[in-house]
Symmetry: C2
Subunit: 335 residues, 2 copies
């Protein structure tokens, strides 16, 4: 089947531009419209074919549960999902749980009351056993956080390996006293990352100092606080692997204010490769999550499930990450 990607390739334009043309977006030049129409004709592409097959569905709406919208990771994940959904004439309902169990349960009930055709979970507040109960009411796909307990497809990256690679990178830069910070305690993502962090330390016989583990940090403000906490310790770390570009950015900002040199006094690694990672100076070394692919594959999986109405079961869709090295860990050119 011809896809929108084929049309984009033939037209020499981005998928987003093709999508804008298909959706009659006002800000597209006539020239681009012509290129897309030509490519569609040559490829015999019919934009609404999938949507027509979906017509027996009731709502054409997929609920996406995210914890917070002010974290760009989730905003970009939603954007990727929305692009695929739009191509297939589905609409998204974005549900912000704000890390609250009750809110998550209310949103899960959208499946029960048939207000949505399917539901994608990007994090979870309730026990997986509770979430499992809702799979009887409609399809659920996991994206980012995961559990085999729920027995549905899970689109994610290998956080253990990413954390291992990030920590090993700090060790290779000469760091020996490495701190670690994360957000939600019981999330699969945080547990995996801590695993990878521990593995790298163990391999190099480095200590895991309990006072260098910082919990419940989520945003720039929390990062400032974490930096202040670390500077007050009698034995200070020489590096931090944070689970978040937001937290890492806050730490760099506060370090600059206090004349603590990054990376000379403290090397810092983020997570996500959000836009701020290349805005802050020094540039932030980070793990580039395959955000776009994760969102795309999760929505494509949901569409497959809705189309073929097949039984769901645990299926792991593991996507690649990348370590992006910038100046926040570049200790050799500094020393």
């Amino acid at each position: 089947m011809t896809t929108i990607a084929d049309v984009a390739k033939m037209a020499g334009l981005s998928r987003a531009t093709v999508s804008r043309v298909l959706n009659n977006h006002p800000n597209v030049t006539e020239e681009k419209k012509r290129l897309v129409r030509d490519a569609m004709e040559r490829l015999n592409y019919v934009p609404n074919s999938t949507a027509q097959r979906l017509r027996n569905q009731k709502t054409d709406t997929i609920a996406i549960l995210v914890p917070v919208l002010t974290n760009p990771f989730f905003a970009y994940l939603l954007e990727a999902m929305d692009t695929v959904a739009t191509e297939n004439n589905l609409q998204l309902l974005v549900c912000q749980t704000r890390y609250d169990r009750e809110k998550e349960l209310n949103f899960l009930s959208l499946l029960k009351t048939k207000q949505v055709d399917g539901l994608i979970l990007t994090s979870s507040e309730n026990d997986w056993e509770i979430i499992t109960e809702f799979t009887q009411y409609g399809p659920i796909v996991l994206c980012n956080e995961y559990s085999q307990v729920v027995n549905v497809p899970a689109v994610r990256m290998n956080n253990t390996e990413a954390a291992y690679r990030a920590t090993r990178h700090l060790i290779e830069q000469g760091c020996r006293k490495i701190a670690y910070s994360y957000g939600e305690k019981k999330s699969s993502v945080a547990l995996e990352r801590e695993d990878g962090f521990r593995q790298a330390l163990k391999e190099h016989s480095l200590p895991m100092n309990k006072s260098w583990i910082i919990r419940n940090v989520y945003d720039i403000e929390d990062g400032r606080g974490a930096l202040n906490y670390l500077t007050k310790l009698s034995e200070r770390p020489d590096a931090v692997f944070t689970g978040s570009d937001q937290v890492a950015t806050g730490m760099i900002m506060e370090a600059k204010k206090q004349n603590i040199h990054v990376p000379g006094d403290l090397a810092i690694v983020g997570f996500d490769d959000q836009p701020i990672a290349s805005i802050i100076e020094p540039g932030l070394t980070t793990i580039a999550q395959p955000i776009k692919q994760m969102g795309t594959r999760a929505m494509e999986t949901m569409i497959e499930v809705i189309l073929h109405k097949r039984e769901l079961s645990y299926q792991e869709i593991l996507l690649p990450f990348e370590l992006i090295v910038r100046d926040s860990t570049n200790r050799f050119s500094f020393n």
Copy 2:
């Protein structure tokens, strides 16, 4: 009536923390829980009173239409709305229109099919006359963009005055050739800002050069492109008033790459005071929008409307802005 703000004040904690305690958020210390409980007892505060009065409503759900979630302005606006909604036991459905008329119409239909109790619009793609038709199905409140045509409450800031102040600030810094960039052509916000920009130029008898007006710029990448466009002009501007911190940040990043000095060669003003405005170097002079107040007032207005079921009509709720001066326009200390 005692509010959550009173409880927060008495407990010496933030509203967010009190809200987290009320929602049984897992990451709250026992000490904070105790402080909140004590304050609630002393004030005789009953958290669900408003929700009980709302019980005659069907869905307890408010739809919020936003154009894009990757623009932090809308993410923070939603966060403010969500805080008030949660306090009142309402849930939000976040609907991303991606500047698409069809998507907006689909989401507006949520009112018609009674899937939501009310709807808040933060931007509009369809003509206001079309949006007006939906007011017969349920309450609509406008927040950010506005029009008297729809005859409903509008919570917003004075964009004309803000643009005037920002432009006058550039003139006071010695700039005489000032460019202007914006996103959506027909949005009330862009029109107002252009008005203010023109007023300031006119007052100082400065030219409005057509090649210095840049349209359809939205994000960091667009900002980089805009900077490149300006540097290729035979007559270059010495300042830009952008409608967006994202665009301004992209311009600064690209200027640094090309050794164009900000503010020496080009002074730059953003809009919103998003986190990146203080992350980028030089720091970005910008208009701090009252995002939190806008979101809060819009949701409070919606709750009032739902509670008292009163007839809606045009009512302007105008909130104050602030010009935040940082180094991106500080030409005197540079010269």
